[in-house]
Symmetry: C2
Subunit: 113 residues, 2 copies
Amino acid sequence: MTIPLPGAQVRGSKTGKPIMALLDLLGRTWALGIIWNLRSGPATFRELQQRCEKISPTLLNTRLKELKTLQLIENQESGYQLSSQGFDLFEIISPLGTWSSQWAQALMENKKS
Amino acid sequence: MTIPLPGAQVRGSKTGKPIMALLDLLGRTWALGIIWNLRSGPATFRELQQRCEKISPTLLNTRLKELKTLQLIENQESGYQLSSQGFDLFEIISPLGTWSSQWAQALMENKKS
DNA sequence: AAACATGCTACATTATTTGTAGCAAACTTA
DNA sequence: TAAGTTTGCTACAAATAATGTAGCATGTTT
């Protein structure tokens, strides 16, 4: 799968509008999960593998390369970490944490009835 | 692929923490794209297919079922549309539109140097 | 120098996505 | 009212992506 560079053809868009490139990226297995799991600080490859519970090393490496190319993460001495852009992105999606709990609760209540 | 119900085992989590169920869902091909494309109002199946430019009907239908089960969209007379929960979700992620443009620009500038 | 840890790669198996064709049901039009 | 059209979707084979396990090279600890 080619890396969804804004400007290039990506899933969902011939023009490569930045939002489409981003949605393509985030829509790939584990991309969001990796970003989410890096929110709590840098992690080495194996650490990150554990945070992600059951990601395969093959895919982890593939995603890390993509995220690095797209400058959302960087690889420093302390391990992989969100770049400043990656962190901005995380801040946008971070309300999903709280939201998802409410959503889960609503789902349960609707199941009852 | 089983629908990532909060509480069940999902990709990335044995416990099915709601956020993990959500990230699993959103990390599926086209899930984010469909939500994004419904932001501008209801659409019939074929309309939605066009908004998504090149989604296959098979997958569109699969995702629609998932999103419906998880109460993020609903199917009314006017077609498929975001449910009130789906809309809340969209509101959280909607800043990605603007953010992605800045990101794309930053990427371009870094390419130069 | 032997044992261990780390960051990956190889690769076969399995799962997901695509793309095309087309069908049944509901609506139009003649 | 009978012949199109359109719509919502299913079938299915081919292509692509993800998983899981093994393991290797390099660096570090004892």
